[in-house]
Every structure is written in structure tokens, then in C-alpha cells.
Subunit: 148 residues, 4 copies
């Protein structure tokens, strides 16, 4: 149980995130994925800023985002973050976005991340930051890596 | 030949598009996909603004983006747009992004689009805007829908 | 006293808001002004969305922003909103941004707003939304319009 | 004459720059100021990237922006850049934004910049980059620093 049952990250849609179609512009969801991922790492006890202080950088290798229902200014979007896979080199994170009020699905998304040092070479994360790897594996073992 | 051999859309990376990792923030590529798609429609002779004046709206149903090499401030990114599939209801667009100077692949991306009227119902595009459908099909026939 | 002693709006700086200088890109502060202004209207009991439902739109006529200290990823920015002047036609809002932890001043800003109807003509706000005007004037009377 | 009669920088308003009011969101103009400023330095022969390579950073100390007419998706905005003042420490840049088609004024803006080294201390620009200072002073002498 423990940290895997983290409450979702909640984002309120800002006016500047809407476009002339009257809905949230789709590129913003990619930013919310980052917001939720960073918040999730913070709450797991492994803040992104600490990772970068250790000289580990985690660029995004890919993103996928399927939009189910639109949102607009003022809406509250609840983002559930899960680890879909992690092999010590590539981490795949899933995002399940729902309306905070009704629970309706808004967006299903995924991002892939690698871990590099300052020189741009792959970091052996199990050696460099074992506590983080263990936390990830514990989460996956508890089934949070299943479906969202 | 004709309009299928459109020159790529070129975007210069802005300072405000970089992040503290010193590279372009990954969410911007989703915006460049939109820039290139709109420019491509303009050059095909079917401006997005005209489409909206006809009461046709084209929300994004999904995006996928695989980042191959990073870019940074001042880089010129050439975006080649192609139609991967179109069944009259859903159009899948591919984006092949390369460095304008060396031709190196930067990003491979895809977006899915539907066509709705003001009430949010599917538009029969072949009836509502046949010239656009024909242009799309001509492009696909000429093999631009192949690989990006 | 009452609603004029609203707690500041707090924004956490996102990774995507930084630039390659390693600090928050300056254009984001203009967005935070909007976030804080909308939050402030919500808490006053006059949500922006309700205003637009009444057919009143409030475009920004000008912004000014003086940056005192930089911020970066993860920083908490507390924004105090005050009404600097309001003559029934133009409302000038002040923003005092400080580090939430130390209270150090980060930015002093101001925006001017007008109130228009759907046709783009000035709205007589005292007639169209008197309760909102009274709330504004009460705030100014209590000295929140003084220094930021 | 020479470089002071630079053609304006032209920005095409993107779909993602609009908001639900149907017009360009006001924060984007701050970004266009940066686009135009960087393009202007490039064309003067003093690229921003070269400045940073010399270890000189130029954070923005303040911005002001007065919006005269709104713009929307597809509009072409011509930005004229001028140096309003420069004392070797602080440079004030003016921006005159007009519709590229009709010449109507859209926005009048200004930004203040300082020049710092990597340690965040003021750089004596006349010693560190004299050619740039001379170019600036030549432009001001030719009256481009006058009104916009």
C-alpha cells in the first residue's frame, strides 16, 4: 500500500491555456504530465531537483496522449501517475486524467524517460540512486503499473 | 508531383522555448506540429481559418512524439508533413522533423484529427468540403503517406 | 477587514517555465498575474467565468512588470493582489510577488483592465454588475489599494 | 542609415497563441518582444548566442506593454525594434508592433536589460564587447531611439 496510493495531482485549467475553440489547447496536457510527474516524485521522496543535483538528468524520449473529452477554463483535472515499466534504463510512466468532479476520463497518456549524466551518457540508476529504483519497483509490484 | 512536394515548414527555436536543461522543452514540439500542419493546409489552398468559417472544427484526438535528438535556442527545425491515413472521418498526419542544416532526424511524430460541426457532431467531409478531401487523397496516392 | 485580507495566491514554478539561463522565463510572470487575478475574483465571490456568462469581457489594456530577483524550478511564489484604482471603466490591479519562504520581493507588477460587452463596447459596470463594483470599492477603502 | 533601417521582424499569430476570447492571449506579446529583439541582434551582427558564449547574460529587468488593438490567429504582426536608451549598464528597448497589412498600431512596448557575467555581476560592456556598444550608439545617434 504505502506510497503507491498517492492522491492524484490536481491542475486547474488556466485562462491562458484555452484557445479560440473555447477549450484547453492540447499541448498543455503534455505540460500537465510533467507537473504531475514532478509532484509524484516529490511525494515519493525523490524530488526532481535532488536528482539533478546528483548530476542525473532525465530527458523525455517520447510522449503519447489520447484526448477523450475536452476541458476548459476553470476545470479541475485530476492526474493519476503510475509506472508502466522500468528496466533500470528506460522508465515508462502512465497518466490517467479525469475530471476531479465527475471522474470522467479526459485523457490517457504515457511518457518514456531515460537517465543521463552531465556528459549525456546513460546512468546505471541502480548503482547511482538505488533507493529511487527500489521505490519504483515497489510501486510496480503493488500493481500501480497495471492499467490506467 | 504537384502540391505533394511541398517544402518543409521551418521553425527557429526561440529562447523562451528552452528549459533549464539547456535544450528545447519537449512540449514545444507539439506546438510545432500545429504550426507545420496549419502552414501545410495554407499552402495546399485550404486555410484552417477558412475551414472554421465553414463551421468545421478539427480537434486533435491524439498526439505521439518520439524525440531522437535534442535541439536548442537558434536551431532551425524543418518539419515535413504527410498524410498517413484518411477515411473521411479521421485524418492521421505524420511529422518528420530534421535539422535544417544537417538533415539529422530530430523527432518523429503523429497526430489524429476529427472534423466536427459547431454542435460537436461529426461532419461528412466528403460532402461538406469535397475539394479538401480530393487534395488529401491525391497526396496519399502520390505516396507522401508512406514513411516519414 | 473581511475579504480584503485574502491570503496570497501561491504558484509553484514548473520545470517548463524555466529557460536555458536556469531561471524562470520572464514571460511567465504575466501568466501568474492572470492566475492570481482570477483566483482573487473567485475568492471575492465574483468568478471570471460568471462575468463572461453575463456577457462581460475584460481584456487587458496594459501590463507592467519589474523583476527584482529571479526564481527557478520548484520555488513557491506568493502573489498579493490589490486594486490600485477603479473608476467604473478602467481597473488597475497591482501584484506584489514574494518568495513564499523568505518573503523577499521578486516582482512588482500592474495590469489595466476594461470591461466590454460582446460587441466590444464599454459596459457600465455599476449598472451591469453593481455587487462587483461595491466589493472593489470596499477593498480600496480598506487601504488594499495603497502600496504593494 | 546602415543597419538602423532594419526591416521589422514579422510574427504570424499561431492558433495556440489564441485564447477563448478568440484573440491572441496578451502574454504572447512579451514573447514576441524577445523574438524581435533576438532577431534584431542577429541582423546587427551580434547574435545573442555569441553573447552568452562570451559569458555575458542579459536578463530582463522590466517589461511594459500597452495593447492598442487585438490580434488573432493568422495575423501578421510587424515589430520594429529601437534602442530608447543605453548608458553602458542598462539598455532600454522599444517595440512598435503594427499589422503587417494595414500598418495599424497593435501594441507599444518596452523592455529594460542589464548585462551580467556568470557570477551575476555587472559586466562593463564597453570593455567586454566594444563593437556591440558602438553599434548601439550608432543606432541611437541616427534617431532610431526616438519615438515608437
Amino acid at each position: 500500500m504505502s506510497e503507491t496510493v498517492l492522491a492524484p495531482y490536481v491542475h486547474r485549467v488556466q485562462y491562458y491555456e484555452t484557445d479560440m475553440m473555447g477549450i484547453t489547447h492540447h499541448a498543455n496536457y503534455i505540460r500537465w504530465m510533467e507537473e504531475a510527474r514532478i509532484d509524484w516524485m516529490d511525494r515519493l521522496g525523490f524530488p526532481y531537483a535532488e536528482m539533478e543535483k546528483r548530476g542525473i538528468f532525465s530527458p523525455v524520449r517520447s510522449v503519447q496522449c489520447a484526448y477523450r473529452r475536452s476541458t476548459t477554463f476553470g476545470d479541475l483535472v485530476a492526474v493519476n501517475v503510475s509506472v508502466r515499466s522500468f528496466n533500470g534504463v528506460v522508465m515508462v510512466i502512465g497518466y490517467d486524467m479525469r475530471r476531479a468532479d465527475t471522474g470522467e476520463t479526459l485523457c490517457e497518456a504515457q511518457s518514456e524517460h531515460v537517465f543521463l549524466n552531465r556528459e549525456g551518457r546513460f546512468v546505471r540508476l541502480k548503482r547511482e540512486w538505488p533507493a529511487f529504483c527500489e521505490a519504483i519497483e515497489r510501486m510496480m509490484g503493488e500493481g500501480k503499473g497495471g492499467e490506467p
